[in-house]
C-alpha cells in the first residue's frame, strides 16, 4: 500500500464495542487538544523550556493500538504517542507538570517532554536514542514468556528509528525468541528533515519484517479502526504464543520535527493531501454517519476536554519546581559511598 493511495474513508474491517469507539474519539481529541496547548500555547508563552515534539495527525496510531491493552500489558511509547500515556492512565496534571519541569511531573523534573514512564501503569520511558526501546521491549516479552504469562508488550517507534542497529537487533531477537511483542511503526515519512527515501531503500517499513521471519502488516495509520483491528489481532496473536508482529502505520507528521521547526522542507501539497485525511475529522465523520454521536455531542466532548485540560494546567502551573539539590538524588537506590 503506497501512502498516496490511501483512501479518505475506508470501510471499517470490524467494529469495537460502542464504548470503545467513543473512548477512541475522546482520547484522540484529548491528545490533539493537549498537544496543541503544549505546543501552541504553553511553549510559546515560555512556560515549557527545551523541546516539544507532538504527534499531530498521528493520534489514531497510539490510541487505536493501546485502547484495548490490559492493565498488565506493557507499552513502550515513542515521542509521538501521547495517546498511549493518556490511555494508560497518566494524568493530565502529571503530563503538564512534566512539560513544565515541575517536581510533580512524571520524572520529577529530571527529564522533559515525552520522556515519561510509570511502571505501575505499564509505561516504559522513552530515551532519545531512537530504537533503543525495541530490544528493551523484546526483553519485556521474553520475561512474559519465561514466566508463562499471557501479557503482551507494545513497542512504538518512527520510520527513522528503523535505520538504527538496535532496532534490527531487537526485532531479530524478538522473532528468534517468538516473544509476545507488537512492534508499531509510526511511519510519518520524515525523520526530522530527512524524507523516507533517504532513510531506506525498501518501499515499506513492513517489508523489513520478512527478513526477520516476522509478519509485517501495513495499515492506514490515519484510520483508527484499521489500526485497532491490526493491533488487536497482533496482540491476540502475541498472547496466544504466536510471536511478534510488525505493524506499519502509514501517516504523516503534520508539524515540524519539534516546535522550533517550521518544516519548510516539506512540500505544501503533502500537508494538504494529509490534512484531508486527518484521523480525527475522518473518524468524526464516520461516527456521525453511523449515529454513534452527533455534532452537538462532539461539541460537548470538546468542551469537556477543554475543561479537563484547563483545570490540569491551572494545577500544574502552581506546582513547585524541584529543589536544586534534587539534582543529586536517585542516581542509585542507595547512595554510593562516594559519587
Amino acid at each position: 500500500m503506497k501512502s498516496n493511495t490511501l483512501t479518505r474513508d475506508a470501510a471499517p474491517v470490524s467494529l469495537p464495542p460502542e464504548k470503545t469507539v467513543l473512548d477512541m474519539l475522546y482520547y484522540m481529541k484529548l491528545t490533539r487538544e493537549l498537544e496543541s496547548r503544549i505546543e501552541r500555547k504553553l511553549y510559546r508563552q515560555g512556560k515549557i523550556v527545551g523541546g516539544v515534539y507532538v504527534g499531530r495527525g498521528q493520534e489514531a496510531i497510539a490510541v487505536g493500538s493501546c485502547i484495548d491493552t490490559r492493565p498488565d500489558d506493557i507499552v513502550c511509547p515513542s515521542h509521538r504517542d501521547m495517546g498511549a500515556y493518556l490511555i494508560r492512565g497518566m494524568s493530565l496534571r502529571t503530563i503538564l507538570a512534566q512539560y513544565m519541569a515541575r517536581k510533580t511531573g512524571a520524572t520529577r523534573g529530571k527529564d522533559g517532554n515525552m520522556h515519561m514512564g510509570d511502571l505501575s501503569k505499564g509505561l516504559i520511558a522513552f530515551v532519545s536514542m531512537l530504537g533503543d526501546n525495541v530490544p528493551v521491549a523484546t526483553g519485556i516479552g521474553l520475561s512474559f514468556k519465561m514466566r508463562g504469562q499471557d501479557r503482551a508488550a507494545l513497542c512504538f517507534f518512527g520510520d527513522g528509528a528503523t535505520s538504527r542497529g538496535d532496532w534490527h537487533e531487537g526485532i531479530n531477537m524478538a522473532s528468534v525468541f517468538k516473544v509476545p511483542v507488537v512492534f508499531i511503526c509510526n511511519n510519518n515519512q520524515y525523520a526530522y528533515s530527512t524524507p523516507l527515501e533517504r532513510q531506506m531503500a525498501v518501499e515499506n517499513v513492513a517489508d523489513r519484517a520478512e527478513a526477520y521471519g516476522m509478519p509485517g502488516e501495513i495499515v492506514d495509520g490515519n484510520d483508527i479502526l484499521a489500526v485497532w483491528d491490526a493491533a488487536t489481532r497482533a496482540i491476540r496473536r502475541a498472547r496466544s504464543g504466536g510471536g511478534p508482529t510488525l505493524i506499519e502505520c502509514k501517516t504523516f507528521r503534520m508539524t515540524g520535527h519539534s516546535a522550533h521547526d517550521d518544516a519548510g522542507y516539506v512540500p505544501p501539497e503533502l500537508f494538504e493531501f494529509w490534512e484531508e485525511r486527518d484521523p480525527i475529522s475522518r473518524f468524526e465523520r464516520f461516527l456521525t454517519q453511523r449515529g454513534f454521536i452527533d455534532k452537538s455531542g462532539i461539541g460537548e466532548l470538546q468542551q469537556r476536554i477543554n475543561h479537563e485540560i484547563d483545570e490540569a494546567i491551572q494545577i500544574a502551573e502552581k506546582d513547585p519546581f524541584p529543589e536544586p539539590e534534587d539534582c543529586l538524588k536517585d542516581v542509585y537506590f542507595e547512595s554510593p559511598t562516594e559519587q
Binding site: 506493557i74 512524571a106 520524572t107 520529577r108 529530571k110 527529564d111 520522556h115 515519561m116 514512564g117 510509570d118 511502571l119 516504559i124 520511558a125 530515551v127 532519545s128 536514542m129 533503543d132 525495541v134 530490544p135 528493551v136 521491549a137 523484546t138 526483553g139 519485556i140 516479552g141 521474553l142 520475561s143 512474559f144 514468556k145 519465561m146 508488550a153 542497529g165 538496535d166 537487533e169 531487537g170 531479530n172 531477537m173 528468534v176 525468541f177 536517585d330 542516581v331 542509585y332 537506590f333 542507595e334 554510593p336 559511598t337 562516594e338 559519587q339
Partner: protein
C-alpha cells in the same frame, strides 16, 4: 581442602543465586550449549534449562536491551559479553537506558553485565581491552573488578542482588591462574569496599584486577631491600572506597597508582586528584602512575609485554619514590 579457581568462583556465584532466586537468569552468546567461551556458564543449561540460560544471536546491544526489559519486569538478568571488548556494541543501552532509568523515572534496572577483560593472553586489540573507565564515567552504573576467587564469587553475588546496574569485569588472565579455598557459606563481598592485600609502611600501591599480583610480586622483591609496600586492591571502581585510599596514603605518605588500563583518563588520574584534594598535606613525594601506554592493546608477545605494566616497573618506581 579443594581449591576453587577464579572462573569456577564466578560460576558458583551465579549458580547459587540462580538456585536461590528464580528471577535470576543468564543470557549471552554461546552461554548455553557451549557453556560460554571461557566456560563460566558451563553446566547451567542442563541444570536450569533453556529459558534461564539463553543463547542469543550476536547482538550485544540486543542482549543488554533485553536484559533491561526483563529487569524492568522484575527479573534479575546476568548478561554475558563474550569479551569485555564487545561491550562497546552495547554502550548505548548501558549508559543511556540502564544507567539513567532510576534517575529519570524511578525505575531500577537490576542487571549485571559481565565479561572477560584484560590482556596477557595475546588476544590482540579486540580481546584484551580494559573498558572500565567508559562506565566509571557514567553515573547510575556500578563497576567492579575482582582480583581473587573469593571476590569473584562474593562480588558476582552482590552484583546480582544489587538494585542497580552493575558492570562486572572479570580478568581473563586470572580465570585459571588464581585459586583459593573458599568458605562454604553464602558470603558476599560488598560493592565499594577495598581490601588491603599486603600491609606496608613505606609506599601504598593502589590497584585492582590482575595488577594486584604484579604489585604483590614487586612487594616481595622490594622487601629484600627493606622497602615495605602496602598493596590496596580497590575491588570496586564505582563506587570506590575513598576512605581506604585516603587511610592508606595517610599511613605511608607515598603512593603509586597502578592499573592495566591506559593512562589518559584512567582511574589513576581520578585517584590522584582525590588524593591531592584530600590528603595533600600527608604526601611526602609525588603521586606516581604506572599504567599501560596510550595505545591499543597490541598482539605480538614483545609488544604486549611492553604494553602491560610489569613487576620491574613497580620495583623501579618504588625505588625512586622511596629515595625521594
Amino acid at each position: 581442602m579443594s581449591l576453587t579457581t577464579y572462573v569456577e568462583a564466578i560460576r558458583q556465584g551465579i549458580w547459587e543465586e540462580m538456585e536461590k532466586d528464580d528471577r535470576v537468569f543468564v543470557l549471552g552468546e554461546d552461554v548455553g550449549i557451549y557453556g560460554g567461551a571461557f566456560k563460566v556458564t558451563a553446566g547451567m543449561l542442563e541444570r536450569f534449562g533453556e529459558w534461564r540460560v539463553i543463547d542469543t544471536p550476536i547482538s550485544e546491544s540486543g542482549i543488554v536491551g533485553a536484559a533491561i526489559g526483563a529487569a524492568l519486569m522484575g527479573m534479575r538478568p546476568v548478561a554475558e559479553m563474550q569479551f569485555a571488548d564487545f561491550i562497546s556494541c552495547a554502550f548505548d543501552q548501558i549508559t543511556n537506558f540502564a544507567a539513567k532509568c532510576r534517575y529519570r523515572w524511578g525505575a531500577g534496572v537490576p542487571i549485571v553485565v559481565r565479561g572477560p577483560s584484560g590482556g596477557g593472553v595475546h588476544g590482540g586489540p579486540f580481546h584484551s581491552q580494559n573498558p572500565e573507565m567508559y562506565f566509571v564515567h557514567t553515573p547510575g552504573l556500578k563497576v567492579v573488578c575482582p582480583s581473587t576467587a573469593y571476590d569473584a564469587k562474593g562480588l558476582i553475588k552482590s552484583a546480582i542482588r544489587d538494585p542497580d546496574p552493575v558492570i562486572y569485569f572479570e580478568h581473563k588472565f586470572l580465570y585459571r591462574r588464581v585459586k583459593e579455598d573458599l568458605p562454604s557459606d553464602d558470603f558476599v563481598v560488598p560493592i565499594g569496599k577495598a581490601a588491603i592485600r599486603r600491609n606496608g609502611s613505606d609506599i601504598s600501591v593502589i590497584t585492582y584486577g590482575a595488577m594486584v599480583y604484579i604489585a604483590l610480586d614487586a612487594a616481595k622483591e622490594l622487601e629484600k631491600e627493606g622497602i615495605d609496600l602496602e598493596v590496596l586492591d580497590l575491588r570496586s571502581l564505582l563506587p570506590f572506597d575513598k576512605e581506604a585510599v585516603l587511610e592508606s596514603v595517610k599511613k605511608t605518605n607515598k603512593v603509586i597508582l597502578l592499573h592495566e588500563d591506559t593512562q589518559i583518563g584512567g582511574f589513576a588520574g581520578e585517584l590522584a586528584a582525590i588524593i591531592s584534594e584530600e590528603a595533600f598535606e600527608y604526601l611526602d613525594g609525588p603521586i606516581r602512575r604506572i599504567t599501560a601506554p596510550n595505545t591499543p592493546v597490541p598482539y605480538s608477545p614483545p609488544l604486549e609485554e611492553f604494553f602491560l605494566p610489569k613487576i620491574s616497573d613497580v620495583v623501579r618506581v618504588a625505588r625512586e619514590l622511596y629515595a625521594y
